[in-house]
């Protein structure tokens, strides 16, 4: 990558910023001729002050420019919430709240459209819970192995491999759910095509694993060495130290990693859309076909006529989804922050 280090690259790489400079007006350069035009030292002095003022103005303009870009994240987040809310409001106006709490969702029914969200929400929570039941022990196990047992060379190899797992597009995971795990589940439990909640849970567990592994491992590594040294000095084995000292000490980070993995599982669309079968009925077990909130939006948004109650209702589903993931992520954030402060 020597070209990255070469002077020419460096020069061209700041071209954008040169353009910004040009836009805000270059600092007037004092030419040798103009300064010595017999006005005495006072003239250069005033030019210097002018130049300083000018550059101060430019500096603050540049700072505000970057500030505006920094605030953009807040604007986008509030914008997403605002747009979901304003589009969902007609749905809340036209459909009584009690209706939302029912099980049946059938907005296209010719007699009486039904807008019950309960089946969807339960499906989402069920698939997510199933995913966590698989992902928490496995993820924590891998994290503990990497932080406490593995040779550092193994760690150097495994960490990028876990990143590869995180890089697999969700639609590919969903496709493999149809092709690999569907038939497997169908053969074991003798159930149709194997596209059900269990399949979805399994795939979501795989997708949540990289998050859980990397953040748990970080928090296990952040446990001060004095803790484990004390335990070892008292005659504890490595295993006892891990289970009774390190994991409790890193618990907040581990919980945060689980919350983040959970947020990912709740919001994942393509895998559940492809692998869970998408039946609208209320689920009674993991071998039932389920339709999660995300899958429901993905299925119906393409077919629904714009600006109908059904359309607004889909945005209401999106709004609830947004709020659910927001809360989960916020909890993870609060936990992580607290834990970072304690570290200091």
């Amino acid at each position: 990558m020597s070209w990255l280090q070469k002077g020419r690259w460096r020069k061209s790489s700041t071209l954008v910023f040169d353009l910004i400079d040009a836009y805000w007006g270059k600092i007037p350069v004092v030419k040798p001729g103009s300064a010595g035009r017999g006005d005495g030292p006072g003239a250069t002095g005033s030019l210097f002050i002018k130049r300083k003022k000018r550059s101060r103005w430019k500096e603050s303009a540049i700072q505000s420019f970057f500030f505006a870009n920094g605030v953009l994240a807040v604007v986008v987040l509030v914008g997403i919430f605002g747009i979901l809310l304003t589009t969902a409001v007609p749905a809340f106006r036209e459909i009584p709240l009690a209706e939302f709490a029912k099980k049946a969702w059938d907005p296209t029914s010719p007699e009486k459209p039904l807008y019950g969200l309960l089946s969807m929400i339960v499906s989402t929570l069920m698939v997510t819970a199933g995913a966590l039941v698989i992902a928490i022990p496995v993820g924590l196990g891998v994290a503990a192995y990497l932080s406490d047992v593995a040779h550092w060379r193994v760690r150097e190899v495994v960490k990028p491999v876990v990143e590869v797992l995180a890089g697999i597009p969700s639609v590919v995971t969903g496709f493999l759910g149809i092709m690999l795990f569907g038939p497997l589940i169908a053969r074991i439990f003798h159930r149709g095509n194997g596209l059900n909640a269990a399949n979805g849970s399994f795939l979501l567990a795989i997708m949540a694993l990289p998050t859980i592994i990397s953040i748990s491992e970080d928090s296990l590594n952040a446990v001060p060495p004095a803790y484990s040294e004390a335990s070892l000095a008292l005659g504890g084995s490595l295993w006892q130290t891990l289970v009774r000292v390190k994991i409790p000490a890193a618990l907040s980070g581990i919980i945060a990693s689980i919350m983040l993995g959970m947020g990912r599982a709740i919001g994942e669309t393509m895998t559940v859309l492809m692998a869970t079968g998408n039946a609208r009925a209320f689920p009674h077990g993991f071998l039932d076909s389920v339709r999660t909130m995300t899958a429901n939006i993905a299925i119906e948004l393409g077919e629904v006529p714009y600006y109908t109650t059904h359309y607004y209702a889909l945005f209401a589903v999106g709004l609830i989804l947004f709020i659910m993931t927001f809360i989960v992520n916020l909890i993870a954030d609060v936990i992580l922050n607290k834990y970072q402060q304690r570290e200091l």
């Binding site: 790489s13 400079d21 920094g70 994240a73 987040l77 993820g139 797992l165 697999i168 493999l176 999106g318």
Partner: protein, 287 residues
């Protein structure tokens, strides 16, 4: 002595379980990749890469989908790279420890947790309806750009953090203004790192399906898009169609596997390139 043996035995079993966890994860990844390469490899041919689909997508290739994915990722990059860099420069160079800064950081972390389908809903309203871009490359690219933003900001900030403070102080001590110091002594060293981090974000965006489903991806187009306001075919959406929506699903399985293989090679290829470049940069660093 006996107690000690028991302790050792428990430790042995415990570590064995941990090791099994690791092997399980690695095995799953291997099975994934093996299955795709085995079944997709047969479908790959020059025709598959360079031809549009034919006969109701039961024959032919995926050329328009590959091109579409590249174009839409380019639009994503145009939005996400500069915005992400600027925001990162603000956070790392200008921002002070304040409530507002904390709010910005909180928003960034939360944005990265917003479900991709919610970005899709947002894109439908903002880009397709309000800004009247229609279902187009532009709408889809901008939606993906917003989705990528938190990742590019975080990656760019990581790169800025690696530049030692003495670089900034050196320039400031010579009388440079803050911006001059950043421009001459920070950015030239940080930009390669910023770009590699951003490529990782773009790789994830290229594999996303849910945000583009309703903002511009088309079921089937025999020709290539002519402008940014055209619809497009994209690899991930094409795979979704081939896997679940096609009228002759069993017949097109090989094509679906081929699409999955191309998509994975593309996304993981981008990932690997970024990781390798990052690794080399780290080794080359002299401070």
């Amino acid at each position: 002595m006996k107690k000690n043996a028991k302790k050792k035995f428990i430790q042995f079993i415990g570590f064995l379980v941990l090791r099994l966890c690791l092997y399980t994860v690695l095995a799953i990844l291997l099975i994934f990749l093996y299955d795709i390469v085995k079944n997709g490899g047969g479908a790959i041919s020059w025709e598959f890469i360079s031809q549009p689909p034919r006969r109701g997508m039961t024959e032919g290739g995926i050329f328009p989908a590959i091109v579409g994915t590249f174009i839409v990722t380019a639009v994503t990059a145009v939005l996400a790279i500069p915005l992400g860099m600027f925001a990162a420069i603000y956070l790392n160079e200008y921002a002070k420890q304040s409530r507002l800064t904390r709010l910005i950081r909180l928003s960034i972390r939360n944005l990265s947790g917003v479900p991709s389908i919610v970005y899709g809903l947002f894109g439908v309203i903002l880009f397709v309806n309000i800004l009247k871009f229609g279902t187009s490359i532009l709408s889809a690219g901008l939606t993906l750009g917003l989705l990528t933003l938190p990742w590019t900001i975080t990656a760019s900030e990581e790169a800025l953090k690696t530049i030692p403070n003495s670089y900034r102080e050196g320039a400031l001590a010579l009388g440079a203004t803050k911006w001059q110091a950043i421009r001459t002594n920070v950015l030239p060293y940080a930009i390669p790192g910023m770009l590699t981090g951003t490529v990782l974000g773009l790789a994830r965006a290229a594999g996303e399906t849910a945000p583009i489903m309703f903002t511009g991806a088309a079921f089937y187009l025999p020709f290539l898009p002519k402008s940014l306001s055209d619809q497009f075919m994209a690899l991930p959406y094409h795979l979704y169609i081939m896997a679940t929506q096609h009228h002759a699903i069993q017949q097109v399985r090989p094509l679906a596997y081929g699409t999955a293989l191309v998509l994975i090679v593309l996304v993981l290829g981008m990932n690997m390139t970024a990781v390798v470049i990052r690794y080399r940069l780290r080794r080359k660093r002299r401070w």
